[in-house]
Symmetry: C2
Subunit: 189 residues, 2 copies
């Protein structure tokens, strides 16, 4: 997606060989028009699929997921991150390890909002080690639903997430794919 | 706002005399079309005001804030909640006490995203005791900016938040105002 590539080139900051900072338009400050364009692009890519609901994770997945939900005319559910491992019979729970923050979180979704048999599109901002996406996919499975696909804003192809998701049989659609940050520059696939 | 009233009546759940659960369309599952309508309504209410940026707080403020940003064509910044009191010279920080969760959070915003002299519209989902809104207003003040107003999705008029904000000189625009939950029913103002 050219609009997103241009934004990453003009505003993204490569912090080291694995981390790209995009907090000026994606995960602290948000560019609403870009979110809308990205939501419409996800809707285009998954055209023809039956989608009942979108599942994302707080907080930085929400903006793009809501724009995708608007484009597809379906509700959006955001999974909540919890420190505590306390499980609850009213929620689906999966464990997600964040390499960036070096901490484990439980992500939970109320059983009232994902019903058995639904077709779910998972949306998230980054795909690196695949932990968040796998956690959301695990919740979809627990609920007896089908993950129609996984829409990712920025995929880092040099980290193992995309391959793990492909091996598990998921269709992944990334708006941009980054091959490396060599010489502190973004090299797209 | 009639659309929101109808949604509260059909889907809101009164848990006790102070708590309304609206997680089927606002703060866990999200109704994208309703968010868009609410964003446009905030844009209409603050028409004529110079607004450079919208400030909200993660996670449930993000969806409606982004739709407001889309309607007004301005960026959105969401403040982050942090447990730790560690301050940082790169961020503005305010302390926010949540009566619902009975816990103190620090909310922070990077100094890169609010610049002195900007006109900021604050958006949040609920106004009860006013803690979150006052925290965001405190950050706006720290940044040397002006809070043009505070847009609230659901105001509970029987709690002291709105009065505190009015006394502090802020213009508050609430999409619906609730006078009480007597007899487990929602009574609008």
């Amino acid at each position: 997606m050219q609009l997103l590539r241009d934004k990453i080139i003009s505003e993204g900051k490569v912090l080291n060989n694995a981390i790209l900072k995009v907090d000026s338009f994606l995960n602290h400050q948000i560019d609403p028009k870009l979110m809308k364009a990205m939501g419409e692009e996800f809707a285009r890519r998954f055209e023809g699929e039956k989608i009942d609901k979108i599942l994302t994770i707080e907080a930085s997945g929400i903006a793009v997921a809501v724009m995708t939900g608007l484009a597809l005319d379906v509700p959006v559910v955001f999974a909540r991150k919890k420190k505590s491992a306390a499980t609850n019979e009213d929620t689906y729970t999966a464990q997600v390890y964040s390499f960036t923050k070096a901490e484990k979180n439980n992500v939970t979704v109320s059983k009232r909002f994902i019903k058995p048999g639904e077709n779910i599109l998972i949306i998230d901002d980054f795909l690196a080690n695949g932990q968040a996406a796998l956690g959301l996919a695990e919740i979809v499975k627990q609920a007896g639903c089908k993950a129609v696909g996984i829409g990712i804003v920025i995929e880092k192809t040099f980290q193992p997430g995309a391959q793990k998701l492909a091996e598990a049989g998921y269709r992944v659609e990334s708006l941009v794919r980054i091959a490396s940050f060599d010489n502190n520059q973004v090299h797209f696939v």
